[in-house]
């Protein structure tokens, strides 16, 4: 007799579950091992870290203390570099949003002549691998006299972030009904008023997604940062992390601790805005 409410397990279900676990466990391990290894180093004293232990004998927060008190040669400008990363990421976010929103509004809503061509040029830039543009960009920034100046990295990252931003925002604004603009014009709204009072509020979710995209792109950038900035007090955190490798006896436990601190903000931002990111970015990333 079957008891109501008690779920019966058939062998088939158990086998399916087992098969799924057989995939799930390797996926979990594969994903977590490099991150766990980083975390392990951050909480290990040097001897434990270098002896290949899977858990330190004496877990400690001492490494964090050294980083936050800047008590190591490689870390003497930690706060300055953290601040540089923050300022550059924020500037890239703001500038990209400004440039891309204006361009998307102009192309999609105002139907500016030649807008289609500008969009294609932007799309073309988006597909050219950024590492290929880095070489001429380095030289160009030298010609402009911007090397070792934060503006060089900010402008380079805006150049890289804008094409995708324009494209996603253009797609999003095409979806807004034309009648909105027409109604606003009937009511005597100027173009700028439409932009400010109609367009921007309706575009908010896409703007959040694009702003996050640009900020993360700039925060995570290594190649351009290490080409364009070299002075210890001008560089961003990832360049400082790369500089750890300059010494033969690098303090890896401190490198991993700093790396862990550096990785936390983008991870937090990503998870906080995941809702927007998944909707706003994946839809734009690949349209089939």
């Amino acid at each position: 007799m079957k008891l109501p409410g008690v779920r019966e397990f058939s062998w088939r279900e158990v086998a399916t579950e087992a098969r799924l676990l057989l995939i799930g466990i390797p996926v979990f391990l594969w994903t977590m091992i490099p991150i766990y290894h980083m975390f392990l180093f951050a909480i290990s004293p040097k001897e434990d870290a270098f002896s290949g232990k899977l858990w330190p004998d004496h877990p400690t927060l001492h490494n964090f203390e050294i980083v936050f008190k800047q008590q190591h040669y490689f870390l003497r400008d930690f706060y300055v570099q953290f601040w540089n990363s923050t300022v550059i990421a924020a500037s890239v976010g703001v500038l990209t949003l400004f440039i891309a929103t204006a361009a998307a509004f102009s192309i999609s809503r105002l139907k500016v002549p030649g807008g289609r061509m500008v969009l294609n040029l932007a799309l073309f830039t988006y597909f050219i691998p950024a590492a290929f543009l880095a070489v001429p960009m380095y030289r160009t920034m030298g010609n402009y006299g911007l090397l070792n100046n934060h503006w060089s990295l900010i402008l380079a990252m805006v150049t890289i972030a804008s094409p995708y931003a324009i494209w996603v925002l253009k797609q999003a604004s095409d979806k807004l009904p034309v009648e909105l603009d027409e109604a606003a014009v009937m009511d005597g709204a100027t173009t700028l008023q439409i932009f400010r009072l109609v367009y921007l509020p309706l575009m908010m979710p896409s703007l959040v997604a694009i702003g996050t995209y640009a900020v993360l792109l700039a925060w995570n950038e290594y190649l351009y940062a290490f080409l364009l900035l070299s002075n210890d007090r001008e560089i961003t955190l990832p360049v400082a992390l790369g500089n750890f490798l300059a010494a033969d006896d690098s303090p890896w436990e401190l490198l991993m601790t700093t790396g862990f601190i550096y990785a936390l903000p983008p991870a937090a931002v990503y998870y906080a805005f995941r809702r927007y990111m998944v909707g706003g970015l994946t839809a734009g990333a690949v349209k089939s």
Binding site: L20, H37, L155, T282, S288
Partner: protein
Amino acid sequence: MAITLSGDQAIPAPPLSSRLTPAQVWGIILLAPYLLVFLAFVVYPVCYGLWLARAPENYVALYNDPIFARAAVNTLIFLVIGINIKMLIALFLSGFFAQQRTWIKWLSVIFILPWAVPSIPTILSVRFMLNPEWGVINHLIFSFTGDDGPNWLNDPTVALSMAIGVHIWKSLPFWTLILITGRLAISHDLFEAAEVDGASWWQKFRYITWPSMQTLYVTCTLLSMIWTLGDFNSVYLLTGGGPADLTHVLSTLGIRYLRLDQLSLAMASIVCAMPFVLPLVYFMMKRLSR
């Protein structure tokens, strides 16, 4: 008075502002910031770079540089083998993550971590794991077998494979996420009908899933190939191009020439990649601007 048809003698055009509506004037003003950025930081660098790479001697020098040939081959291996393995795994995992289970939902949140965190610390973490003396992998090998493990990054084949592995680790979540979106867009009725007809999982994949996902899959593969050409971090931070400059790919090679102050060679190596890049870019633009 006869008006000739040649341009310079035609009636002077009315001033620009009177031909454009106020909305169009605003359109041009709002488009101007991007155009300025584009001219100053894309058009000018590209033209300047092409001008630097104009001399044929550069290409002769590249042709004679064994590191360049090696880098070209490595890039091809990275793209053809690495990307296809990655996309096949992503396709497989998209089916796994589309299962409705609470624990799989949680796993998918964790699975996205490599994409959400910056690549520098995680790649360096892998690099230390592979350290022959102190890395955890060789420690484990020693404690199980009593033998010293291999010097992983000292063998070009292994080192390049590891760089490909790091690349897959980093970007697999992104592509899986996109393929999941594609999979979830397939009508569930089709699968239910197939279930009633007693279709095997392979038949379901072959006749329902794949036909609806193949365009997306091919687009993703091509896009990933284009972007991977610019993947500098996976190789540079793991192997630094070594041992003996045998694991360079085109993106790290360009930077290597740059650091050696051979800017024209750096540009020439990029120009050499263009015959492969431009058709892919053209194809992607066609596809995306439909």
